[in-house]
Amino acid sequence: MSCKLYVERSPRVAARKLGDEVMIMSGLDSTLFTLDEVATIIWEAADGSIPLEEIVDSKICAQFEVERGEALLDATELVEGLAGHGILLLSSEPVIMPNSPRKAGQ
């Protein structure tokens, strides 16, 4: 049985949605990232409380004609890449939220 992957937006970045794109700047090295439509969906859902596979099921497979296994593979690759840049935090456990859920970009 594979463990679940939880994703959370890093508090060390700044993000804004401009038009259809989300732009993110790393606070560590000022690198600028732009997320496409699918990456934006994952980013906005990444509050640390929902497993990635649930995000894929409810947000991606529900909106796009894509096979679930392929979508989950792509999403895992994406979040690992973003985590490598310090944009997302990954965990095998849900993140305990001390306050109400943060909104994207805050």
């Binding site: 970045v13 700044a14 804004r16 401009l18 038009g19 732009m23 790393s26 000022s30 732009t34």
Partner: protein, 275 residues
């Protein structure tokens, strides 16, 4: 211990003669015991010397040969002090006492770099920017022309008709003023080698420069405008909080100021589009 020593140094009385350089409406007084160095600054920043007004910031300058001339620039926040270090200078600045100390070799380039960096730090906290861009005033309105080296900043500045007031051909100074932005002249020159006029005006538009087969403006999406704008913002500090602040300020700027692409021929006809 090093930090405590730096703080103690900053609280000592500033000695020697002084000169106040006002860029972007921010008067900075520099003190030195070397009168020839101050005379050099007076010539270098002609038009930006504030004679008689009070300064907002004070820096004591110690002239010395560089310790490690090739060292890269670092701008760090440490125990309540900004530290700005490069091979040819080392500066420490206390934003609360508004005093600092610069140790540098006796050349104009080092203090020029310190001024630029100091202004980026000050502007970042109030929603303004130093921008890799030319800027000018026409009919009471300021226009900014951003672009990397070779995009045409110096070209468009040199093509300006006589009724245009040049603010800079290299580094533009933009301050937030309520719900608008003001562009100020700077002494930071590019290839034109000409200091800007020490005046300001409300910013009317920002153009992203491209050389093209004809004079033409084109719209830019908010995301593209933000990317291009951020690519031209001067900011050096290794400080996540301030980096995030600059990012949000840039997004706010893009949402308020008209931004267009501007392709232009290398002749003065382009200025007829900018009124």
């Amino acid at each position: 211990m090093e930090t405590r020593n730096a703080v103690q140094e900053l609280t000592t009385t500033l000695a020697g003669a002084e000169i106040t350089i006002e860029i972007g409406g921010v008067p900075i007084c520099v003190h030195s015991t070397d009168s020839s160095f101050l005379e050099m600054l007076e010539r270098r920043y002609a038009g930006f010397v504030n004679w008689g007004g009070s300064a907002e910031f004070d820096f004591d300058i110690e002239l010395a040969e560089p310790a490690a001339a090739d060292a890269d620039l670092r701008v760090t926040w440490d125990a309540g002090l900004w530290r700005v270090e490069r091979g040819d200078f080392a500066a420490v600045f206390d934003p609360h006492s508004r005093k600092g100390r610069i140790r540098q070799s006796p050349n104009p380039y080092s203090i020029d770099a310190v001024f630029r960096i100091l202004h980026t730090l000050l502007l970042a906290q109030e929603g303004g920017f130093l921008l890799h861009a030319a800027s000018a005033i026409r009919n009471g309105k300021a226009f900014v022309f951003a672009g990397v080296s070779g995009a045409g900043k110096t070209t468009i500045a040199s093509l300006a008709p006589p009724d245009v007031t040049l603010l800079t051909d290299e580094i533009s100074y933009i301050r937030k003023d309520g719900n608008r932005y003001l562009a100020f002249g700077t002494p930071f020159t590019g290839e034109l080698g000409k200091l800007g006029e020490n005046v300001s005006a409300p910013l009317a538009a920002l153009y992203l420069l491209e050389k093209g087969p004809q004079n033409q403006t084109a719209p830019v999406t908010a995301a593209d405008a933000s990317r291009a704008f951020l690519a031209n913002v001067l900011f050096f500090a290794e400080d996540p909080k301030l980096v995030r602040s600059v990012f949000h300020s840039a997004c706010e700027f893009v949402g308020q100021v008209p931004i267009h692409r501007l392709a232009f021929l290398p002749d003065s006809s382009v200025w007829e589009m900018l009124t």
